[in-house]
């Protein structure tokens, strides 16, 4: 197979783009997609300070790599979930990357904030493990950004992640979740920082290829709690659709963002309060994170 741009030997075929690329042209294609995402949603101002949430996986480290090279003032944020060897190894990958790129990394332990690591949180709640973990991560990302003075958090969510989330929301007609699903969320309260997903135009396979070709040592092993997760089942369904019809995921997500989302927009903004205990933003009196912390305290 030949590179669409230079005619040299291709390393990766992108069926949804009806193209194949050699290594340098693929890396440039990838960076262009990130630039286009940032431009289209005005995600970041040139040279802005960005807190990059990193997990040690391919997506977040690829994102950090691109943002450094694009000239943003980045700091990594690794949230240690305390998930046995998986967390030990993923943290080591983040630290090694930060050292190699001479970029600052903040490490924060979930157990210090909530009183127990994710495996314990999983046992004290009746919800799936990804639920308490996701809630804690979103909360701690925002809190860390505020504490360290970052106006924006960037996460490594890719096209497959976003399509799978959309698929899940549509399957259950979660009409409250649909208006919030966006590559860029504005700050709607002084204590909520902006959240952006500069990889939303790139598939999981593209971010994996970028990380591999950039010689980024990322964690390939799965999170032990992800097995059987609904989001993974949805991804597998979408993978079969993509195989039968290249571009299916892209059309599903981009069609939603461009054509369908306005139909789900709320007429009135949701009223936001500050949590009576921690001061972070919530729609109620006590935020979901503090409620979860109470649950952990009662059970341990």
């Amino acid at each position: 197979m030949k590179c669409r741009k230079c005619g040299g030997a291709a390393v990766l075929e992108l069926r949804r783009h009806n193209a194949a690329f050699c290594e340098p042209d693929f890396l440039e294609f990838f960076r262009n997609q990130v630039r286009e995402a940032i431009r289209k949603y005005r995600m970041l101002a040139p040279g802005e300070r960005v807190l990059v949430a990193v997990s040690g996986g391919k997506d977040s480290l690829a994102l950090w790599d691109v943002l450094i090279d694009e000239g943003y003032q980045t700091t990594g944020l690794y949230l240690d979930l305390g998930i046995f060897d998986y967390s030990v190894e993923s943290k080591a990958r983040c630290e090694a990357f930060a050292a190699r790129r001479a970029a600052p990394l903040i490490v924060s332990r979930v157990a210090d904030a909530i009183g127990a690591p994710v495996p314990v949180i999983k046992n004290v709640t009746r919800r799936p493990p990804c639920s308490g973990c996701g809630l804690s991560k979103r909360y701690l990302m925002n809190r860390a950004a505020l504490e360290h003075g970052f106006p924006v958090v960037a996460t490594g969510h890719n096209l497959d992640d976003e399509a799978a989330t959309l698929f899940g929301s549509v399957m259950h007609w979660q009409t409250d979740a649909l208006p919030r699903q966006s590559p860029a969320l504005a700050s709607t309260h002084p204590k909520l920082v902006r959240r952006v997903k500069p990889l939303y135009r790139l598939s999981e396979r593209e971010t994996a290829a970028f990380a591999f070709l950039r010689r980024i040592d990322y964690i390939v092993e799965e999170c032990p709690f992800a097995k059987g997760a609904t989001s993974i089942q949805h991804k597998q369904i979408l993978d079969r659709m993509e195989d039968a019809s290249p571009g299916a995921k892209h059309n599903f997500l981009f069609g939603f963002l461009e054509k369908a989302q306005p139909a789900f927009a709320r007429a009135e903004p949701v009223a936001l309060n500050e949590c009576a205990r921690c001061g972070q933003v919530t729609t109620g009196t006590l935020c979901a994170f503090c409620k979860l912390a109470d649950q952990v305290k009662r059970a341990t």
């Binding site: 197979m1 291709a10 390393v11 999981e204 971010t207 390939v220 999170c223 993974i232 991804k235």
Partner: protein, 66 residues
């Protein structure tokens, strides 16, 4: 040829002298769900892998299997 699969890491021997595309079909793996690694680079599905060579099929999904 040797094929390295991940999660958990394991190796299988399959007949070589075939295109990657045919090997993936044999192993019932969708091409879009893996990176095909030979040495320190990636190869496309039309490449022929000979007996005696090793390729890794690395799942691209976080938490994914291959």
């Amino acid at each position: 040829m040797k094929v390295v699969l991940r999660n958990p890491r394991r190796e299988v021997d399959v007949a070589g002298g075939r295109r990657v595309r045919d090997v993936l079909k044999d192993l019932d793996i969708l091409p879009e769900t893996v990176l095909v690694i030979r040495g320190d680079t990636l190869i496309t599905a039309d490449q022929v892998v000979s007996d005696g060579e090793t390729i890794e099929l690395r799942p691209v999904m976080s938490g994914g299997r291959a």
